[in-house]
């Protein structure tokens, strides 16, 4: 690789700016969809825990759809399909306010909510049956046993899976490029087509993605260690 010149891109203000804006968009989408996904996942979990069979079916259907349809296709369905079905006023408002970013957040967030809710559900179900019994035997009510016994354990159990899926969520932000969002991957492609310094541009993006992913994994690892149950296998 002759003349690997990272500074050639970084020095040029436009490229630096493009990179920075791209990163910002990526982080915006990632953060927005993560919050939406977490909120939706809790809703799904709570709905699923109600005794209604219909609720169970609805949530199961939601999860099944979002796990079996590719994320890119979900994104396209939202942006090209559902968007066109919205009332004109809403369409107008969205178009004026970064429709692509908003719809990306919606699509990615709702998709990942399915995974998060399954992780939380697994976390809950991996608690030995005796725990709930012991809590009730001691006199805790349903909410009490959830709050003091089940959920603390469920969350600890679910952390590794949640962290993994959070990394996926972060990586999925790059899909927004397919509907025109100027996030990091898009920015890097632009830089590359303008400067022809493919290797440097791609390396920058790769490093940035890696750093963020590793950060998320490190935070997750820290969380799991901090809240670890001492002596548990």
């Amino acid at each position: 690789m002759k003349d690997f010149d990272l500074l050639a891109i970084l020095m040029k203000p436009e490229f630096g700016a493009m990179l920075w804006h791209g990163l910002q968009e990526t982080l915006k989408i990632a953060a927005g969809s993560w919050l939406l996904a977490m909120a939706m996942a809790v809703v799904l979990l709570v709905v699923r825990l109600t005794p209604s069979r219909l609720a169970e079916r609805v949530v199961a259907g939601y999860v099944s759809y979002h796990r079996n349809v590719p994320t890119l296709v979900q994104l396209m369905l939202w942006y090209f399909g559902i968007f066109s079905l919205l009332p004109d006023a809403l369409q107008g408002w969205l178009s004026a306010h970064n429709a692509e970013t908003i719809l990306s957040i919606v699509a990615l967030g709702l998709c990942q909510a399915a995974y998060f809710s399954e992780d939380m559900r697994s976390g809950l179900r991996s608690i030995p049956a005796g725990q709930a019994e012991a809590a009730r035997a001691l006199g805790h009510g349903y909410i009490g046993s959830m709050r003091h016994v089940m959920l603390p354990q469920a969350i600890r159990n679910a952390v590794p899976a949640l962290v993994n899926h959070s990394v996926s969520l972060f990586k999925n932000s790059s899909l927004a490029m397919a509907i025109g969002v100027a996030e990091l991957t898009h920015a890097v492609k632009e830089i590359e087509s303008q400067s022809f310094r493919t290797f440097e541009a791609y390396s920058m993006a790769t490093v940035l993605y890696l750093v963020c992913s590793l950060l998320i994994m490190a935070v997750g690892g820290w969380l799991s260690r901090r809240y670890r149950i001492a002596g548990a296998r």
Partner: protein, 252 residues
């Protein structure tokens, strides 16, 4: 909504095989071929990577670990861009989008699948390795005759899940104009222009049917394996059938 059926009736061939024979093979057939080739070629790579990560020799362990972490930390799109850029340089000539996508899938799935294999190996009781070593088998002998046969069999449902992920990953080929199902759907949409929801609904449902059926197969497989492994007496399965192994399965 009825236009869904009209669109299907008019365009089913395009969705099935793309522009073949007056063009390269496309549509869902191309998607499936790409996925099968991808996972089949990724499999030996994944076993090698898993063994490397578990090997007692640092020279093997570190590069393998780094490779897996890098691939897991970088979006699939970036890997596609890298492969699209590097492969022509390495080979010396242009490669088709299909080949690029295939190489990408082999690398990407190789890394993820290696985590599945590694989890399978580590889930076996230590006693198996101890018994094999106590009998005098070497490290590789132990792996080949005792550990891998068990680990790979136990991990079949997870590997099937990775195959399903691969099918979903092929959609990104659209970004580099690979003629697969998503590309075909976009072509239809660009022609029709007035019914985007219906077109993408068909697209979503097609993937849903394929992936859902395979998921059911994976769950059935998991129940069968649990039944076999633990003896007829106690076949423990989780309610939805798929007990999640350490999460290596990723949605792209």
């Amino acid at each position: 909504m009825f236009s869904v059926f009209e669109i299907l009736r008019d365009n089913w061939l395009l969705l099935l095989v793309g522009q073949y024979p007056s063009g390269p093979l496309g549509g869902i057939v191309a998607t499936l071929i790409l996925s099968v080739l991808g996972i089949v070629l990724a499999f030996p790579l994944s076993v090698l990577l898993a063994l490397a990560r578990l090997s007692p020799w640092r020279l093997l362990r570190w590069p393998a670990t780094v490779l897996v972490y890098v691939v897991r930390g970088v979006p699939l799109l970036m890997v596609i861009l890298w492969v699209y850029f590097l492969v022509p340089i390495l080979i010396g000539r242009e490669v088709s989008g299909f080949t690029t996508m295939l190489c990408t899938l082999v690398i990407y799935e190789g890394a993820y699948l290696s985590e599945v294999v590694r989890a399978g190996i580590q889930a076996l009781p230590r006693g198996q390795t101890e018994a094999a070593r106590a009998l005098g088998h070497s490290h590789l002998g132990t792996m080949w005759f005792v550990i891998l046969p068990q680990a790979l069999y136990n991990m079949l449902p997870s590997m099937l899940s990775q195959f399903i992920s691969t099918i979903k990953e092929t959609t990104l080929g659209y970004v580099i104009n690979v003629q697969e199902l998503t590309f075909a759907a976009n072509q239809i949409n660009n022609q029709l222009l007035t019914k985007p929801f219906q077109v993408f609904f068909i697209l979503a449902m097609t993937y849903y049917v394929v992936c859902f059926s395979l998921t059911q197969l994976a769950q059935w497989l998991e129940r069968r394996i649990a039944h076999r492994r633990l003896g007829a007496a106690s076949a423990k399965t989780s309610e939805d059938g798929v007990s999640l192994p350490p999460p290596a399965v990723v949605n792209p």
